[in-house]
Amino acid sequence: MNWKPNPLFMLGLAIATAPIIAQAKIYVSVEQAQQILIPNKSLIKNPIIITDELQDKMRSASSIRHPFQGDRIWRAADGSWFIVDEVVGKHEMITYAVALNPSGAVTGIEILEYVESYGYEVAEANWRKQFLGKTAADPIKLNQDIQNIGGATLSCKHLTDGVKRVAVLYDIALKNQALSLKAK
């Protein structure tokens, strides 16, 4: 094949596509999110091993295929939980935190990092507050008990599924841990 790229074209393409210094848009740090979601309580890191069986159960409940990492889980003395997770966004990962009360109901979510062109609306308090009080027993499904935001559908869907799997994580793994801690 005789492909002779036009130097002017190549130069222009290089300029047009040179990476702009696109800083990740970080809303809050993990520490800040902890203070917002579980204020004035000290949190102790409480990592858990995510077995294949647990991963499979969380996947079937939430439909998320991206694996859950068990090393970003914190617990408060009163039995509240603070969990950081990430889901697939349009171009990059979306990092978010979920707080659960001692009985596994969602008490708040925060978007930690969001680097997409569109769909910032998922960070708005009005959308996030739909999750308050939800437990693994709720559907936590987009267009069912969680309303979509037009133009931010992919982010809404993945975050909704993400909160579902965190709720399921509590139900399957964290609740038992809390019970065994109490028994001791």
Partner: protein, 304 residues
């Protein structure tokens, strides 16, 4: 001012670069030629620049560049409209070898955009603004929330070389957290070719485009796409004259503020001509506007 490919490319780059730095903000087009149902959200405007090169026919040289400078706008979250300016540059020389076209000569100059009045023994070179197109895409179901996304596409084109009305059925399914996209377009077009002497030659086309694209790393997607092409010498898919298959890879990079897609498709051997279209076939491939290799580069960035 005489339009040359260098000026065309330079202008496109200047425009793209200027908008890139002044508005820096990304949309999407993970495939080279397949349309997906990833539309502009309501009220969002995106600039897109496409540059396609069709290169190499049966012999000699054949370079057909087409450029599209486009603005896309989300009228609602499910209805996107667009308008674009089309430019072209054709350089052909001794690119045909079929005796039906070349007579006693072993090769001759012909193909899409080369007027029938042109002396086939000499090279042909021309560039300019081809015309403009309008486009509307209506999304019936969204592949992010439905097993199969379905959309309808309509695009009228007015040009120096041809007028065309093109309709597409867009299909898309997403898998693996929406990172794997399978997409297909069924394309039907009616055309009036103007570069041939009598100035009003009807044609029609039926294409099936299928492809897959996988986001293998943050920001990066790669995949393959294929085109099953059928040309007809009359309107409304009557009297088929060509059949050809193209296949090739695509690569897509998307960041928050911009995206770029590059794709290449290669015409497989085994293409055939029939029904009076034999002059446009040789070496088991079909010509007309087609070539052995087709390249496309698209750059896009949101303006608001």
């Amino acid at each position: 001012m005489k339009m040359t490919i260098k000026r065309l490319v330079a202008f496109s780059i200047l425009l793209a670069t200027a908008l890139h730095f002044s508005f820096a903000n990304a949309g999407e087009g993970a495939f080279g030629w397949i349309y997906t149902l990833d539309l502009q959200p309501k009220g969002k405007l995106e600039f897109e620049q496409r540059l396609q090169l069709n290169k190499q026919q049966a012999a000699g040289t054949y370079d057909a560049w087409t450029a599209r400078t486009e603005l896309e706008y989300g009228l609602t979250n499910d209805l996107q409209i667009a308008g674009y300016i089309n430019s072209y540059y054709t350089s052909a020389s001794q690119n045909y070898t079929n005796p039906e076209a070349c007579g006693d000569s072993s090769s001759c100059t012909g193909g899409y955009g080369v007027p029938s009045s042109h002396d086939p023994a000499t090279p042909y070179r021309k560039s300019g603004i081809e015309g403009g197109s309008l486009e509307a895409i209506y999304r019936l179901t969204n592949p992010v929330t439905s097993p199969v996304g379905v959309g309808l596409y309509l695009e009228p084109t007015w040009g120096r070389n041809k007028d065309e009305i093109e309709a597409r059925l867009l299909l898309q399914s997403n898998f693996i957290d929406d990172r794997l996209v399978l997409a297909g377009n069924l394309v039907v077009a009616n055309e009036r070719l103007k570069f041939i002497e009598n100035g009003n030659v009807p044609e029609s086309m039926l294409d099936l485009l299928v492809g897959a694209s996988y986001r293998f790393a943050p920001k990066w997607s790669a995949g393959v796409e294929a085109r099953f092409h059928n040309d007809y010498s009359e309107l409304n898919l009557h009297n088929q004259v060509q059949r050809a298959t193209f296949v090739g890879p695509n690569m897509h990079y998307a960041a928050k503020d911009w995206w770029v897609t590059g794709a290449w498709r290669y015409q497989l051997k085994g293409g055939t001509c029939m029904g009076g279209g034999e002059a446009e076939c040789s070496n088991a491939r079909v010509w007309d506007s087609h070539s052995v290799n087709e390249f496309i580069v698209k750059v896009g960035f949101p303006l608001n």
